[in-house]
């Protein structure tokens, strides 16, 4: 079994982990996973739950795909990825329904829709199917955290402006007039657009 991660230095692991957080951030840099990014970021709690679900599914799928990478037939690999992802998404969905039913209801169809989240299938194809267990694991943690943080930043801005609260705790002065539009789809598009612009300015300055 050829393992590309064998003999890799800690610097490579660190680079793989940090890539998901900033340089290859799935939302801000790769523009992947836009559906949940726009749909579940009206408040921080659902955004965080969605992020944690994606971390779980990404971790499990990357581990499984990495373990069976040498057995995959090229023409059946996407089918195998989808099968793996669908399994863990179903488990995540059942977990939410059993232990956090209110949140499961808030997230609605967006939890089952993680199956078609391109971040997960992208990492299975680009990383897990070509690398060993350690690299795939670190990549999943980095990408998952990057995605979750992005969702939380977006949701934080939207929740603050739409309700004057963060994590359902009032933080704005009583005189603050909530911007109702921020909790609607238009608020998601505007906030995402502005944050993407900001990230582009920062990255241009860095280069």
């Amino acid at each position: 079994m050829a393992d590309k991660s064998r003999g890799l230095s800690p610097a490579v692991y660190k680079e793989t982990f940090l890539a998901g957080l900033w340089r290859k951030n799935p939302v801000f840099r790769l523009l992947l996973g836009m559906c949940p990014t726009l749909a579940v970021t009206a408040a921080v709690k659902p955004a965080l739950t969605m992020g944690l679900c994606v971390i779980f599914v990404l971790l499990c799928s990357n581990i499984i795909v990495s373990l069976m990478r040498n057995l995959l037939k090229p023409h059946l690999r996407i089918l195998m990825f989808t099968l793996t992802i669908a399994t863990f998404v179903t488990i995540a969905d059942l977990f939410l329904k059993a232990f956090v039913p209110d949140m499961s209801e808030t997230l609605g169809p967006y939890v089952p829709l993680i199956i078609v989240n391109c971040i997960i299938i992208c990492r299975a194809e680009a990383c897990a199917s070509k690398n060993g267990l350690v690299v795939s694991f670190i990549d999943a943690v980095g990408m998952g955290l990057g995605f979750t943080m992005t969702l939380c930043v977006l949701a934080g801005v939207r929740e603050l402006l739409a309700t004057g609260k963060i994590f359902e705790q009032a933080v704005m002065p009583a005189a603050f007039v909530p911007w109702a539009a921020m909790s609607m789809p238009v608020g998601a598009f505007i906030t995402l657009g502005l944050l993407l612009g900001l990230v582009n300015i920062v990255t241009r300055k860095q280069t």
């Binding site: 037939k73 099968l83 399994t87 059942l94 059993a98 039913p101 909790s183 609607m184």
Partner: protein
Amino acid sequence: MSKIKHFFQQSWLLIVASFCFGLLIAVTNAAWSERIEQNEREKLFSLMRGLVGDANDFEIALEEAQIPAKKGRVIKTDIYRAIDKGGKGVGFAYVSIGSGFADKIKLVIAVDSKCEKFFGFKVLASNETPGFGSKIKEDYFSSQFKDAPAGKLELVKTGDDEKIDSEIVAISGATVSSEAVVEIINNSIIHIRSKLQEKGLVTNGR
């Protein structure tokens, strides 16, 4: 024979993985399904309690009552009898389902013990458009159904939404969702009443 061999050579991993993943889901489902059903039951009972204020408990009055739906389909639903602290029946509640704008809408509907007026409805599940169709959950729309006559309701685009009668004023920008709610209620109440009358549970129903 060689074709079969080739098939298994190519797809054995898929077959094995499907079996293993299927087993994993089945085990997880078996472990949590009771809890999920319990959560759903608790939610249903809390919604029914919210609708029938005097209710102390609910018992199944009629199991799997059949409501004819569109395209020849049949909705099977349990009809619950609301009982007050003295053990007296104060109303009935049931779940009905119909097509909304984006997805199915599942409602809990409650009527009084004579099946003459509605106690109202609550949304058990829906995926209507946020900010528009999702307003079917809001009080200003659902309060129009409270104490409305338990007969055929009519959806109107303009009118007095505070007046309690058989006219329901649609939500602006969400006519399809409003229509869906009225249709679900209209379609179910006639059949529910006749089922209750057949069983002698309602005598004074119209």
